[in-house]
């Protein structure tokens, strides 16, 4: 569960920094799909890697100061292994939960990365899972799971006992199309990135539908395939507007506040790499990384593939205790961090 305390009411976000870089092993990320942020600030980044390269599949542990604490887990079907790792959430005791969309299960690790257990069974009955993606804890350490191909949300105890399910396939209020990211607000309400319906839905803790935000499109307050959602203590809603390659901020009523396209700079790890690899660093310094391009198709995905600082596949948004927003980008293998600012209010 994300809580933000003692920070000013947020009107705007401003760019702070970029974390990470592309690596298949060790310090770095490869096709990261989510980050779980522990109370002590440690970040657990789930990496999907290339499908034919097992070694890239892992959880990278680091923090906002670019300290690197190691990796854990590996590719496979055994305990403590993943095939298609997706979301990552941390419970109140600091245990790390990672969903696996291929193995239809949730794997649990201690804060040092030792595998503790896993649960989940493939199917459509209550308590069974089909392609679990987003994960979020409530204040009681019960876990909401976006049960993607069952088009519903289920809630489990931390050890995997089924509690409740809500939603079904459709585009009506309370229905879903391949839900992805999920979060729990300070008031216990559940917010779901209803990916295929291009909206975010808000539910009471028991699954009663409360509101829907957004509609298909590229305009302000519109979404294209949103992948992630976070909510701060003041009720502001942060949405990874994945298909539009941007992040949007909505107020508690769903009104549009701000949109971010991405402003990545060199992370500490990236700067270190380019300082060591001088030839590549020099060539990069002479390149125009924001070229004017005659795009073949009018598509933010295409634009992001050319302009490196822009978000490219922003799969997840997460808040830390200080209100910093972490935007994980699967295609750029990094995390952009934005901080709250009252200045624009």
């Amino acid at each position: 569960m994300t809580t933000v305390q003692d920070i000013p009411e947020i009107k705007v976000l401003e760019y702070r920094m970029t974390l990470g870089m592309t690596t298949m092993e060790g310090r770095g990320f490869y096709a990261p799909t989510d980050v779980g942020i522990a109370d002590d600030g440690r970040m657990y980044v789930a990496n999907r890697s290339l499908e034919n390269v097992a070694r890239g599949v892992r959880v990278t542990v680091c923090d906002i100061d670019s300290e690197y604490y190691g990796t854990f887990a590996s590719y496979g079907t055994g305990a403590g292994q993943f095939v298609w790792p997706s979301a990552c959430a941390i419970d109140s005791r600091g245990r790390v939960y990672v969903s696996d969309e291929y193995l239809h299960r949730v794997s649990i690790f201690d804060k040092e990365g030792a595998p503790l257990s896993q649960w989940g069974e493939h199917g459509a009955a209550d308590g069974q899972l089909d392609t679990p993606s987003g994960l979020a804890f409530d204040a009681d350490d019960n876990l909401y799971v976006a049960d993607t191909y069952n088009h519903r949300v289920q809630q489990f105890t931390a050890d995997g006992r089924f509690l409740l399910a809500f939603g079904r396939e459709g585009d009506g209020a309370g229905e879903f199309s391949l839900p992805w990211g999920i979060t729990v607000g300070a008031d216990g309400c559940v917010y779901v990135a209803d990916w295929g319906n291009d909206r975010v839905q808000k539910f009471a803790a028991d699954g009663a539908h409360l509101a829907s935000y957004g509609s298909p499109g590229r305009g302000d307050g519109e979404f294209h395939r949103p992948s992630g959602v976070a909510v701060d203590a003041n009720g502001y809603i942060y949405v990874a507007d994945w298909g539009n390659e941007r992040v949007q901020v909505l107020n508690a009523d769903g009104g549009f506040v701000q949109k971010l396209r991405g402003e990545a700079t060199l992370s500490a790890w990236a700067a270190n790499f380019l300082a060591i690899n001088v030839e590549e660093g020099d060539a990069r310094s002479r390149a125009n990384l924001e070229p004017e391009v005659d795009y073949f198709v009018d598509d933010p995905h295409e634009e992001s593939s050319h302009i490196e600082k822009y978000f490219w596949s922003p799969v997840s948004v997460k808040l830390d205790r200080d209100g910093n927003l972490y935007v994980t980008e699967a295609n750029r293998h990094r995390i952009q961090v934005y901080r709250p600012s009252a200045a624009g209010g």
Binding site: W84, H224, L266, S267, A283, D294, H306, W312, R332
Partner: protein, 470 residues
């Protein structure tokens, strides 16, 4: 059972697509042959697995890192699209304008080139060549970034004439040099950094950046040129215009089209010395090329509606390329109703059979026809097709089996015919049919058409000469 109308449309779908289920053939036959041709030529109403869905579950098919992503993504399209001719035409151009990973070392650039074939490949040949000349992967593939005003590199200019448009014997060495001069300054943006990253296969720090074309006027030769008998301060676009006016270009592209869609011609290097096997068909296509202002769709329409194409003598003459075989099987099995990790394995099967998309053996692309077949590749092809069609857990196989089981198969002959019908109304030789009937007879009693037995006969059908061909 199939009648000739169904069988003819089956032939059309094997050549202009990747085959069709019997159910699809019924619906096409209800429209009629010419209407089906028009449906294939019409690109507006495509339904397929969406890019969003693919990218969500396969991040690598979004960023296109590595050697396999572009081909995997393409296979999804081939296996799921309702406009298969678009993908078939993209394959056709990929075989001619063959560009490969080992030199480009940028999966997204190669995938972007295929996308360009997909969107430009059925329109004006002139526009396609113009776009190709600015394609970043092609620029690197044929060194046009090294083609400077004061020091030409004629690699692209030569291949443009020799392999992409006219063929050997229709231009002079001076034409090659003048052509190269016209393309000086046509290069890659951020060339130094992009080339260096490719040379090092560097994904650092944030993954690869898409390539884009840049025109450097300071490096372009604006001088007078003499090309194919015409004089002027030609640039690359002018050169493409002149190329497209040539009868040799029309004949070269027409022969390629005939070879790809109708019957195998010898490899391109033999064309100056060997006449086309069906000169009238080439004449028909040349006429369509000029009448339409170089429109590829008009050429395809003329071809598919011609007796040259419909002639039963050319049915099953072409060996399916590995990726055509794999895509066709996946369309029958219906396995990819959603993104699945297994797409990687299915795509790799086509590599094991000898076709690695975006990685052709040379600038001449792949040799077609029986060159696809050797002892090893034949085993791979049969094993793959049999294994997939025998898996009744796959929705498409289950549907076929249930349809066959539903009809009364009172004899092995009827069971065999029903299986042949379900995989796309294919005809087999008497010898093949006899073998299949013998197998069906041994596999169980004539009245015992259970699902497992049907699946076994489907597996055997997948191994036949006719199924492996188009």
């Amino acid at each position: 059972m199939a009648n000739r109308d169904i069988e003819l449309i089956g032939h059309l779908m094997r050549r202009a697509g990747f085959g069709a289920t019997r159910e699809q053939l019924d619906s096409y036959a209800a429209r009629g042959y010419e209407a089906t041709v028009e449906m294939l030529l019409d690109q507006r109403e495509e339904r397929r697995m969406g890019d969003d869905l693919i990218r969500r579950f396969h991040p690598e098919l979004s960023g296109m890192m590595g050697t396999l992503g572009s081909g995997e993504n393409w296979l999804y399209r081939m296996a799921s699209t309702t406009t298969p001719l678009r993908e078939k035409v993209a394959l056709f151009w990929h075989g001619i304008f063959a560009t490969g990973y080992p030199k480009v070392i940028h999966g997204k650039a190669l995938s972007d080139q295929v996308r360009m074939f997909r969107y430009r490949g059925m329109r004006s040949f002139r526009d396609l060549l113009a776009e190709l000349s600015q394609d970043p992967a092609m620029i690197i593939w044929l060194d046009n970034q090294d083609n400077h005003k004061d020091a030409i590199n004629e690699n692209f200019g030569r291949e443009l004439l020799e392999l992409f448009s006219m063929g050997v014997g229709n231009y002079t060495e001076q034409d090659v040099q003048e052509c190269a001069r016209a393309f000086t300054g046509w290069t890659l943006g951020n060339r130094e950094y992009m080339e260096l990253r490719s040379m090092r296969d560097s994904d650092w720090p944030y993954g690869r950046i898409s390539w884009h074309f840049e025109f450097h006027d300071h490096d372009h030769d604006f001088g007078e040129k003499e090309f194919l008998g015409q004089r002027g301060p030609f640039n690359g676009d002018d050169i493409v215009d002149i190329i497209c006016q040539q009868e040799a270009t029309a004949r070269f592209i027409s022969r390629h089209m005939y070879s790809f869609f109708v019957a195998d011609e010898p490899p391109v290097p033999e064309w100056p010395y060997v006449e086309p096997q069906d000169p009238d068909a080439i004449d028909l296509l040349v006429q369509a090329y000029f009448d339409s202002g170089y429109d590829i769709t008009a050429m395809l329409r003329a071809l598919f509606n011609s007796d040259h194409f419909k002639d039963e003598a050319v049915w099953y003459r072409k060996v399916k390329s590995p990726v055509e075989l794999v895509a066709g099987v996946l369309r029958l099995t219906g396995e990819f109703d959603r993104p699945r990790k297994e797409i990687l394995d299915r795509y790799q099967q086509s590599i094991f059979m000898g076709q690695f998309l975006n990685n052709p053996p040379s600038v001449e692309g792949w040799h077609q026809g029986t060159d696809w077949i050797d002892t090893g590749s034949l085993v791979e092809r049969i094993n793959f097709a049999s294994q997939q069609l025998g898996d009744t857990a796959k929705p498409g196989v289950r549907t076929m089996v249930e349809r066959i089981a539903h009809a009364p198969s009172v004899s092995p002959e009827m069971l065999v015919d029903a299986c042949l019908d379900q995989v796309g109304a294919i005809q087999v030789s008497e010898d093949t049919r006899r073998e299949l009937v013998d197998f069906a007879s041994v596999a169980g009693s004539p009245n015992d058409a259970n699902h497992g037995r049907i699946a076994e006969v489907l597996q055997m059908v997948a191994s036949t000469h006719e199924f492996q061909r188009a």
